[in-house]
Amino acid sequence: MRLKDRVAIVTAAAGAGIGKATAKKFAEEGATVIVTDNHERRTKETADELKSEFGEDKIIGIKCDVTNKKDVDSMAKQVLDKFGRVDILINNAGREILDPVEKIKDKDWDIVIDCNLKGMFFCTKAVIPAMIEQKYGRIINLASIAVWIGSPIGETSYSAAKAGMVGFANSLSREVGQYGITINNVAPGIIPNPFLDKIYPPGMLNAAAKSSPVKRGGKPEEVANLIAFLASEEAGYIVGETIDINGGLYMR
């Protein structure tokens, strides 16, 4: 129970992938988990599912669009009003829209950059004052293998957003590291889930996963294990790190 009595917010926690797996892992480790997602019905369903497993008082579901500052501030306020603290923030909300750079529409650029970067900015800003006051915090952003390697399928906006997380985590670490707050990134490779098949060309994910040394894609639970470690007290000396978890698909 590495996260006993910790209060953790996970964004985009009601999908089929890393967010939900992380919420579940955190609850298993004893944390109180705030399941937030932009999808209202799924937020409730996921929260209900986890409540039935971990108890009514351990899980809260809050619908939250991370690109909407009011939504984010209201979500953080509800958490702070109820628990008086927030220990862990997992910035997992992300969007990707595929287009070659010369064809990207302004609105699509904005959707990707705003969800990944501005959402992270809003959520982090909303919890940092409380973390400074309590002199403890763990912030983990979900980056991607796309930080390090390009692809020809139209991911410039996504790669930009994910790589921005490196500068963000490291710069903020320098400002708030003295308060016992760590900010790190996790950069997954190919972690298949049903939603991703709607974004990428058919067969692409599978082929790429097979080309890794371990010859398979990763499981959301495997990424959640890494996130839980970074979110624990044990990882307090890991600061401004971007940790790859990609089955060796790209080795720095």
Binding site: L117, F122, G150, G167
Partner: protein, 254 residues
């Protein structure tokens, strides 16, 4: 005549020290140069200096944040010179602010100029380069994209560091998209550079802290930056793609 002599180059943020140096070097090679900058007065001064060196220069007032202004800038370039061979994205801004005081407006201003700006310029230029099957894109970024601020003292730039990291990812990915069209896209990653505008951003003790990290014992100069850019623009560099070239005096090592 060098291979650069019939080439056309766009430099954004044309009035800053590094852009000026790049323009001077390109002028020596006979490259036709488009200087783009949002500050009309500074742009005119910069253009006059490069013109006096005998270069064929077109100065265009352009705020790279604005997709329309960038479109217009590219249209004027094509109208005058018929093509774009080199795109050097070097317009940037930094509005120091502690994270706690960082407003959405400040965040937007920095991200829009430093990230959307280069995106806007690439979006308009890549189709032209694809058609002619040649192009060199050099984005100029700061090492803060890797390190997050320069040091523990020279901070208050989470937004800036975010934008610089993003520019690295953007360029790496774009290089994979455009490489087969004989276009390269690379980044020159600058460390702590010794030029006047640095003092508008950082306090003396912050500059001292950044300086202390540099292994070669002195801060970089616009000439150091321009040398790296000129290499990446050259024919010799045609096999260099998606590279983030550190020009930071060993102040940061991957």
């Amino acid at each position: 005549m060098s291979e650069e002599s019939n080439k056309v180059a766009i430099i954004t943020g044309a009035s800053n020290e590094v852009s000026q140096e790049i323009a001077k070097e390109l002028a020596k090679k006979g490259t036709k140069i488009i200087l783009a900058d949002k500050d009309k007065e500074k742009l005119e001064a910069a253009a006059n200096e490069i013109k006096s060196a005998g270069a064929d220069v077109l100065a265009i007032e352009c705020d790279v944040k604005s997709a329309d202004q960038v479109k217009d800038m590219i249209a004027k370039t094509v109208e005058k010179f018929g093509k774009v061979d080199f795109l050097i994205n070097n317009d940037w801004t930094n509005k120091p602010s502690s994270f706690l005081d960082m407003t959405e407006n400040i965040w937007d201003e920095v991200i829009d100029t430093n990230l959307r700006g280069p995106f806007n310029c690439c979006r308009e230029t890549v189709p032209l380069m694809k058609k002619q099957k040649f192009g060199r894109i050099v984005n100029i970024a700061s090492v803060t994209g890797y390190t997050g601020s320069i040091s523990n003292i020279a901070t208050n730039d989470v937004h800036f560091s975010t934008s610089q990291g993003a520019l690295l990812g953007f360029t790496r990915c774009m290089s994979s998209e455009v490489g087969r069209s004989k276009i390269t896209a690379n980044v020159v990653v600058l460390g702590f550079m010794d030029y006047p505008s640095l003092h508008d951003i950082y306090e003396p003790r912050a500059i001292k802290s950044g300086k202390a990290l540099i292994t070669v014992g002195k801060m970089g100069t616009p000439e150091d930056a321009a040398a790296a850019v000129m290499f990446l623009l050259s024919d010799e560099a045609k096999f260099v793609n998606g590279e983030t070239m550190l020009v930071c005096g060993g102040g940061y090592m991957r």
